[in-house]
């Protein structure tokens, strides 16, 4: 669920309490705390825990320039070593000697003030290089003009280092790191957290890549994708050529990814992924700092208590109602998140792990989010309608179903209105259940052959708009 949905849920909980509504009408704004409390679980996780979480392995496939904060960063030729293999940088210097220059392929030596390295350009990268240079390699060599060449360090079959012209890192770097994390988690028996940085390029574009867990074959497959905008729109013609599109690494031990879709990394920030050994299998824990104690029923009680105490100390008369509204708002957040897949650690210290979510409407989580927002709007309308006359705002209820359907017994009128108002949400949630069933059948049925799994991956690749 999106942030506003949670915050809004807290505000909706306020409407259950006429004393709080009365305060709001009179300009006393303490009840806003209920919205704050309802958003607090994500605030704690995303503004504190995320940054304080201990990382065991950090993969930065394309280190950023410290000034522009964009990739690639310059690396001097003298600093190149096998540790930097497959990482995306640019080198700068002049062409010292052209070894070979033919269609689709070129080899030349580039020198800067710290050393010299063999540069290889092939496939589409060759043409991009020519286009960027605006002149032939021979001309560049003669002119001694300084040029910049993006790419990554590669090792030839003969074991020699060379610079491969490219516009992205090689995905092998990421595949190896993920496989290493899985192996370490199995061998050490503790959670190993890997941080994979995203790749931010000029023009506010990001290089999209995805990590696929091939559980059957104990392989990690990383696909390097196109450049995408912050909003996820792929930029035409930016897909890497075939030879550096896929990286595959095998793990020594079996692993399990509960959510069957690949992990997509592009805009905003790269994820932290935890791996933990459970019996003889390593399980993935996506963003392990999230949905822990902060997203629990236990924490909702603590939040209400803290809010009450703050309000009491500040001299707010309705501190008790406020505390209950804060608890309900916080609890609403926990339950709303539980509708999704990831789930939360619901009752610490009694529970230690995330309880898997209900996974309602996996094919359209946006609709579930909207339905939840509608539920909160419905609750607000219902409460404001029944309490407004008591608060002296209006002389009578503004929505009276009995005016439309005279047969409704007066004592049931309010509840009927509630039923009518929340019926769209109920319908969407029911659809969510059907969608869940279809999703499980499609992705997780026992005996799904490898071909079908591949199809699933292909479908997701298409969804993410690359190739």
């Amino acid at each position: 669920m999106r942030g506003w949905t949670h915050f809004f849920s807290g505000l909706a909980m306020v409407t259950f309490f006429p004393p709080l509504l009365s305060d709001l009408v009179n300009g006393v704004m303490w009840p806003v705390l209920a919205g704050v409390a309802a958003y607090m679980p994500d605030f704690v996780d995303f503004k504190f825990r995320k940054f304080l979480w201990k990382l065991d392995i950090v993969v930065d496939p394309a280190p950023r320039d410290p000034r522009s904060k964009l990739s690639p960063r310059r690396i001097r030729i003298g600093k190149l070593s096998e540790n930097e293999r497959w990482r995306f940088y640019y080198i700068e210097g002049y062409v010292e000697r052209v070894v070979e220059d033919r269609e689709d392929y070129a080899e030349f030596d580039l020198r800067d003030e710290t050393g010299v390295i063999r540069v290889v350009a092939r496939d589409r990268d060759y043409y991009k290089l020519r286009e960027t240079l605006g002149l032939s390699l021979e001309e560049a060599a003669r002119s001694k003009r300084r040029i910049t060449i993006p790419g990554y360090l590669e090792v030839s079959e003969q074991g020699k280092l060379y610079w491969n012209v490219a516009d992205a890192p090689h995905p092998q770097l990421i595949a190896n790191a993920v496989a290493e994390a899985i192996n370490k988690a199995y061998e050490s028996g503790r959670m190993i957290t890997i941080k994979i940085h995203n790749i931010r390029m000029p023009g506010d574009f990001y290089r999209r890549f995805l990590v696929h867990y091939d559980q059957e074959n104990k392989r990690i497959v990383v696909y390097m994708g196109p450049l995408v905008s912050t909003g996820g729109l792929p930029l035409e013609g930016t897909e890497p050529p075939e030879y550096r599109k896929v990286g595959v690494a095998s793990t020594k031990y079996p692993f399990r990814k509960i959510y069957p879709r690949p992990t997509v990394i592009d805009a905003f920030s790269g994820p932290e992924i935890g791996y933990v050994r459970v019996s003889e299998v390593v399980e993935e824990v996506f963003i392990p700092w999230h949905r822990g104690f902060s997203h629990s029923i236990t924490a909702s009680l603590v939040a209400g208590l803290v809010a009450s105490l703050i309000a009491l100390i500040a001299g707010y008369a309705n501190f008790l109602y406020l505390g209950i509204a804060c608890t309900l708002g916080y609890l609403a957040h926990v339950l709303e998140d539980q509708l999704g897949f990831m789930g939360s650690n619901l009752l610490p210290p009694l529970t230690k792990k995330r309880v898997p979510g209900a996974m309602l409407g996996p094919s359209n989580p946006g609709l579930m989010n909207f339905a939840t927002n509608w539920l909160m709007i419905a609750i607000m309308i219902w409460n404001l309608n029944r309490f407004s006359p008591d608060l002296g705002i209006v002389p009578y209820k503004l929505i009276r179903l009995s005016a439309l359907i005279p047969r409704i017994p007066p004592h049931l009128e309010d509840y009927t209105l509630l039923g009518v108002l929340i019926s769209p949400t109920i319908l969407v949630y029911l659809w969510g259940l059907v969608d869940r069933w279809l999703f499980i059948r499609k992705y997780r049925a026992p005996g799904v052959e490898e071909a079908k799994r591949r199809e699933t991956v292909e479908e997701v690749l298409e969804e993410v708009g690359g190739y």
Binding site: G3, W4, Y39, T230, G231, L233, G366, F370
Partner: protein
Amino acid sequence: MEYFITPVDVILWGLMGSGVGLLLSWIPGLHIANLMILILFAAPIFTGGNEYAAPYFALGAVVAFSFMSSIASTYLSVSDESMMLMLFPSQRYLLVGRGHRAILLYCTGALIGALFLAVFMTTAGVYVMPVIYNLFSPYYWFALLAVVVFMFMSEWPKEADLGVTRLGKLWLAWRQILGGLLVFFASGVLGLIATYSGLIRLEVAFARLTPLFIGFFGLPWVLRNIISKRRIPLQDTRHVVETAPSAVVNGAASGIIGGGIAAFFPIITGGMGALIGGHMASSRGDDAFLISQGAARTVYYTGALFFLFHPTMRVTRGAVAWLVGGLYTPKTWIEFYYGAALIVLAAGLSLIATIYMSKAISKLLTRVSYVHISAVIAVFLVALVYYLTGISGLILLLAATAVGFAAMIFNTRLTYCLGALILPVLLNITGYTGLALSLLGIGE
């Protein structure tokens, strides 16, 4: 029964408003409220017996502005706050030669927004809106405060990953959040100064916030274009709407919700409404985003004015509505339905005009240096502020530009600059205006 205005008058005055709106709205920095002030006060025609036509003239102009102002924000990097969330996607489109496609997406949303507004307000809205108004109006300030608090709480730390240590990351994250707070309060202080200090002459008090808004949202971008010597690539002017039906539905829903919230709740602006609308409809993707912005702005600007036409609501929202309401407020259902029809008509006209204007500007940009265009815009904005508010306005403009730059440096939301509007209101409703003014040395 004799009516004050006939359908012919509506069409005539409405289209005249649209025409003026289309002619002027692409000019950077000219907000519709300022534009209407200039027109209505420069043209006494509306005060000499034709005041019944003024609402339709304004409605036509506002619809035109909702469409045509996308030209300035997409191609010339200047816009009002409600476009701030959009600047980045539309600039990205421009920088990859797709500025015209951004305009087409925006116009798709704007057209849907206009049609929705006309249809909804004349059908379900007739019954629903008065009830919603009566239920929620006692809680306006609660809604405003809630949205502001949410804006701060939901700030996404963009650079924290670059930190080396855990504490370093935490500091980078919070530097951005605290930077946002600083921008909000600095803008708020400028808002208090502009409103209460008497720095801006009383005769031009209607334009007291103009130097601030141009300083926050306009000038920093233009100056940045000049400093970075930005060049615009060749633009593709083919009529290609690059999106999917689901993105259209999602973007339009998000925009209509966001624009509706902004139109309905006072002080909550288009940018803030769009933030909430985007969260509610789970809007993702640049195409959906641009569509949502078109819908949000149309529903926000046009909807706010159209509330004035609703005979049983009696709500005045936005500067244009206050201005027009001072001349004449429509009172009958027939005037209301005329207004709805005019929205559809003006939207159709504005759509066509905006598309062709976009093509023309696209071609112009490839022939004229973008730095030169930016320099001309900068001079125009400064001249506009000087013309409206004099030297004091220029001083405020300078201060506001510094705050706008600060928002960029902290990499935080430019919407926080709305502190200039929001902080004075929040102080007012909580009774702290006097204290704040005495701290600033303003007043007694």
